[in-house]
Amino acid sequence: MPNADQIAYNLIYIPLFPLLGALFNLLFGKLLLRIAGDRLGRELVHMVAIAAVAFSCFFTISAVWTEMHIKGHDALTQSAYLWIYSGETQIGLDLLLDHLSAVMCMVITGVGLLIHIFSVGYMDKDPDYPRYFAYLNLFTASMLILVLGASLVVTFVGWEGVGVCSYLLIGFWYTDESKASAGKKAFIMNRIGDFGFIMGMLLIYVTVHSLDFQAIADMCSGGVDSPFVTHAVWGVPVATLATLFLFLGCTGKSAQIPLFTWLPDAMAGPTPVSALIHAATMVTAGVYLVVRLNFLFVLAPFTMAVIAVVGAVTALFAATIAVTQNDIKKVLAYSTVSQLGYMFLAVGMGAWGAAIFHLVMHAFFKACLFLGSGAVIEACHHNQDIREMGGLAEKMPVTSKTFLVSCLAISGVPLFSGFFSKDEILLHAYVNASQWSVGLNYVAYVFGLLAAFCTAFYMFRLYYLTFKGEFRGDHHTWKHHVGEVWIMSMPLVVLAALAAFGGLLGVPHVLGEMVGGIPHVFDAWLAPVTDIAHRFNHSGLATAVSDPDSNYFLGVREGFAHDGHVEGTVELVMMAVSVTVAVAGIALARQLYINGPSDAAARYAKRFGLLYTISHGKYWVDTIYDNLIVRPVRMIGGICYQVFDQLIIDTLGVKGVSGTVGFLGNQIRRWHNGNVRRYLVVLLLGVVGVLAAVYANPTISQIGPSKVNPQFDLGGLRPTLGPRRKPPRPAAPAAPQPPAAPAAEGAAQ
């Protein structure tokens, strides 16, 4: 449904090329390896894959360029074809590139390209080389479809597609049962989220009768008077119910409480996959979805509060787990969960721009961290335990430096990207509040600060344990250390640069003004999407604002939604607080781990024994889920099958019926002993029975000469089964004689 400010553009090429690349490698990859030889084959395979993503990247850039340079147009659209339609349901395969999806596409294709390149080095020796690149390409295509979808259904296509690719890539080394199980777990948890997504779609559909984002936005434009708010399903306003369901989908995809446990397990996949899928792109799809539907979410303040709470709790929760983990990838995984929590905290507070900003920055530094860890793991012969590392900075200078930059970024050290993005989120958390959830903002802020402290601590703990001090692994590994290769270092450098300087895209207003008018480029770019005020027609917003008694309140504070006018001093104080917290975390980590695990660290662990155990045991969430959900489901299935299917229906029902029939049959068979006379007696009794029935039934026995036409006409017989239209018997039949009289007569004869 092209809007006035949208123009058509061939967007399909963006996801098409990775898709074709995936197809090529799936179908011909093995063949190439066999025909062209291993070396050349691999070259061809990854050339195709990388070229596909590069093309896609190129098309994205050109599309964004077009978008920037055609004034008065917010978005590019393309309607590929009508996909699913029936009745009034019309689902087109429509693509939409607006400012939000432009950002996402850039991240996906850009970071994706770098990770593809990195994979060439990382997967060098893998026998399933083509399959790997095919999956990676397929993932890129799906992710692009996800962010380019112009309707919820198309987004769902990508949503599921990335889920499948994630499943395939986590279980890439499928011969290891535990890795395959991790993939399965990820897919099933995502599927639980998909249930929410589907229900959300249905609820939106019944309200709008369309799933186009544009149509939903239009329907929302009534503000609190839109049907989303005024009408309810199951007693809950549609907006609230639909967004809650959609958020369930987001928790699945973005690994939030309660569906986060799959993400740490997902580290079973190859490390570049973890970087691309489980850090930079796929897991942020939930954040993207909420931002994409921000006009709907603001109509549901309850959901917004839930999102903010879940985000804040997840951020802290995961961060506390990450503090004690010893697997380099597990630390990063929990860190990712924690950072995603930040993003949800932001969207829960209505800070859409901040959320996306953090999403992008996170994509840079977390991808860099993961790729760096990948390089380390490769170097340490696939040992991932940081207790057995140390001093690697000496052997891997590039990796250690880029890792350090990313650590500084994620910790929120000033001037690095994370500083800007995280700070913006904390600021919003502090300032934004709806009347619905008074005080929630302060709680969220404190959670965020604590998580920030933990983040700084565990990231530098990781850094020091890995790169500083003495090497603690075995001698052999140290000696045969795999050196750095340019194809793996190059992406690291690029990402580190982005992590270091990307934050300048979003310089806070107060700082920007101080320095001399550096704008918040990112906010300005996203304004058409995130500035929700223009989405609502005037009356709707006016109602909400002018009704002071309303406990219904837009999820975003009116004043903030426009340009974030917070007093400069407040903003500066907040910055100082978060910087202090970050530095404190780094300092503590340095104190304890600069030369490997110190005695002090062990002492602390002992002193806070309970806390340490809980954190180290990851709160036993997996065990709890296993015992509370997985086993009961299996047990119920077993009981259903054993008791219901086998016992009740089959044994009692089917076998019972057949057994009864068999028993009766046997009894009756005893009568059929071939004795003709006995048959005849039964026949006789039957005849008596029938005639007695005739005799006893006045209706039938009335058919006598008085009623029967002597000229018996068989053609006049009419079936008497159904009720007749006009009852053929006009008069009541004559009263039957009492049976005693003929009996006496018969006896007399």
Partner: protein, 577 residues
């Protein structure tokens, strides 16, 4: 051109006769002849597709010849959107079955091929019959070859399974026959002495509520067993497990669909009043089936049995779509029938491939097959993902339409359907659970069983069998338009007709008449939906929203919205139904 259907019926019979004259030893020759005939049959059936007129809801390729004219029984056949693709699915699956079972069927080949061809006649006949007696004839004709296929070429406990299958299905059809005759007699009485079993003519009879209830459930008894709905499903796992691969494929691919097809074609349109009151029960059973089938599938140790239970789960979705009596629901149900036929057919073929190699179907016997059988794994995965309803594959389109139809439009016919959808959608989760469980047990992990180390990947023959299925699974998911555009008009007409007759039934019931009348004698159904809503309540959420709003200004909703200055506190409650 209109004789295509007759050709479709005659061709397999000719084939069966030719094949059955071959000596018993000539197994391969028989299969070859059967393959040729069935491929020819498929090609002939393609002319249905090319000759099918788009945008017309009614019957096409109609032939109507008197058969037993004293009772008004005609050879009346035709095709519309509901039946077209299931016929094509039948003609497609039959050659694939012969090819797929090339190796596993090694005894009595001529008989087997003949049985398969006769089965094809039965299925196609049932799908194209527009005369109830003709339908019933073909409906019963299907039983015999299937019974033989399970009973003769099945696995260890084949006889018990075959008998169970036979008894279950016979039980249902006996009731259906009674209802058919009852309906014809009612027509006879209502018209004052015209015998007919023609569907279109009987469609004009409006029975009293009690009669409708009796007839509806008699029909449903037959169809529900075939589908199979929840409490009468236990024949299915046994039949599937014991049947040879081609039998399972046909059983899952087409035979089950005839149950839902029967509901769409006969039970619902003929007795809409009873249907309107029975959909709640049907819907509950369907949803129980969705959840139950999935849960039970999860704990199976036999791969084939697992897939069989997954059929119970999937067919529940289809029934739910039919219960919604909406355009989307009907279209979705028909489309999902195709999707389920393709995906489950492919899964059964795949398990057949394994069984051919290892002669076991126990999950514990396998593991790590992805290493030795990569192509097989790929095929299996696509079929599995299609079955799980992944967008871009065939399963999603149908499932989505069913859910949308039921959730948004089902409230007029089925009360509480949104709650049912909510529970049914949980099946989406469970579907992934058991399918991934199956996939992992078979394909992933290390190769623990040394017997699996040298399993051969798909042969050329097997690839040829899988190829069309895989292409369709993906193609129909990506571009379902050719299918939807042919199904939709029929769904539209069917829903309108259903509502019209339901309205007429309500009027008729309101007159306290104690006998059936013809539709033409009832008037006052200009706006059936309004009347139905007035009588039964309209549980569709927001029925007032008619079209998607183009622009806020032009939106019809703006006018129908309640005035703004309501006390804001009770707005949510006010919106509650």
């Amino acid at each position: 051109m209109s004789d295509v259907l007759t050709i479709l019926l005659v061709l397999p019979i000719v084939g069966a006769v030719i094949v059955s004259t071959l000596p018993q030893r000539e197994t391969n020759l028989a299969k070859g002849v059967g393959l040729g005939i069935s491929v020819l049959q498929f090609l002939v059936s393609l002319s249905l597709l090319s000759g099918f007129e788009l945008g017309t809801p009614g019957m096409q390729f109609e032939t109507n010849v008197p058969w037993i004219s004293e009772l008004g029984i005609n050879y009346h056949v035709g095709v519309d959107g509901f039946s077209l693709f299931i016929i094509l699915l039948t003609t497609l699956l039959t050659p694939l079955c012969i090819l797929g079972g090339w190796k596993s069927i090694d005894k009595r080949g001529p008989e087997f091929t003949a049985a398969l061809l006769v089965l094809e006649v039965g299925m196609i006949g049932a799908l194209i019959s527009l005369d109830l007696i003709l339908f019933f004839t073909f409906w019963e004709l299907m039983l015999v070859p299937m019974y033989l296929i399970i009973g003769v070429w099945g696995s260890e406990q084949r006889v018990a399974a075959a008998v169970k299958f036979f008894i279950y299905t016979m039980l249902g059809s006996a009731l259906m026959l009674a209802a058919i005759i009852y309906l014809a007699v009612a027509h006879y009485n209502a018209t004052g002495g015209v015998w007919t079993f023609d569907l279109a003519a009987l469609q004009q009879v409006v029975l009293t509520p009690r009669e409708q209830t009796f007839c509806f459930w008699a029909f449903i008894a037959s169809f529900a067993i075939k589908v199979p709905l929840f409490p009468v499903h236990t024949w299915l796992p046994d039949a599937h497990t014991q049947a040879p691969t081609p039998g399972s494929v046909i059983l899952a691919g087409v035979l089950l669909k005839l149950g839902t097809y029967g509901m769409l074609r006969f039970a619902f349109p003929l007795f809409p009043l009873a249907a309107g009151e029975g959909t709640l029960i049907l819907g509950i059973l369907a949803v129980i089936g969705i959840i139950y089938g999935a849960l039970v599938a999860y704990v199976q140790s036999d791969a084939k049995r697992l897939v069989a239970f997954s059929s119970v789960s999937h067919m529940g979705f289809i029934v739910l779509g039919i219960c919604s009596v909406s355009v989307q629901g009907f279209t979705g149900a028909t489309f999902q029938s195709l999707g389920h036929g393709l995906t489950t057919g492919a899964l059964f073929l795949a398990i057949g491939v394994l069984y051919e190699r290892r002669h076991t179907r126990q999950l514990s016997e396998f593991g790590g097959l992805a290493k030795v059988m990569p192509w097989f794994t790929a095929m299996f995965m696509i079929a599995m993902l299609g079955s799980a309803g992944l967008p871009g594959m065939v399963g999603f389109v149908g499932e989505f339409l069913i859910l949308v139809g039921a959730f948004a439009h089902g409230g007029l016919t089925t009360p509480y359907i949104r709650e049912l959808v909510l529970v049914g959608a949980v099946g989406v989760i469970l579907g992934a659970v058991y399918l991934l469980h199956l996939f992992q047990k078979l394909m992933f992990g290390p190769i623990t069983n040394p017997k699996n180390e040298h399993l051969k990947d798909l042969s050329l023959r097997e690839r040829i069998v899988f190829a069309p299925l895989i292409v369709l699974i993906i193609g129909m998911g990506v571009y379902p338009q050719p299918f939807l555009s042919r199904i939709n008009p029929t769904s539209n007409a069917a829903v309108a007709e259903f509502n019209l007759k339901r309205c007429a039934s309500i009027m008729h019931a309101g007159s306290w008449a104690d006998h059936a009348v013809m539709m033409s004698e009832i008037d006052g159904c200009e706006d059936p939906e309004r009347l139905i809503a007035a009588v039964y309540g309209d549980e569709r959420p927001f029925p007032w929203i008619e079209v998607p709003t183009e622009t806020p200004e032009a939106s019809p909703t703006a006018e129908t919205q309640p005035p703004a200055p309501q006390p804001a506190a009770d707005r949510p409650q006010q919106g509650a139904r």
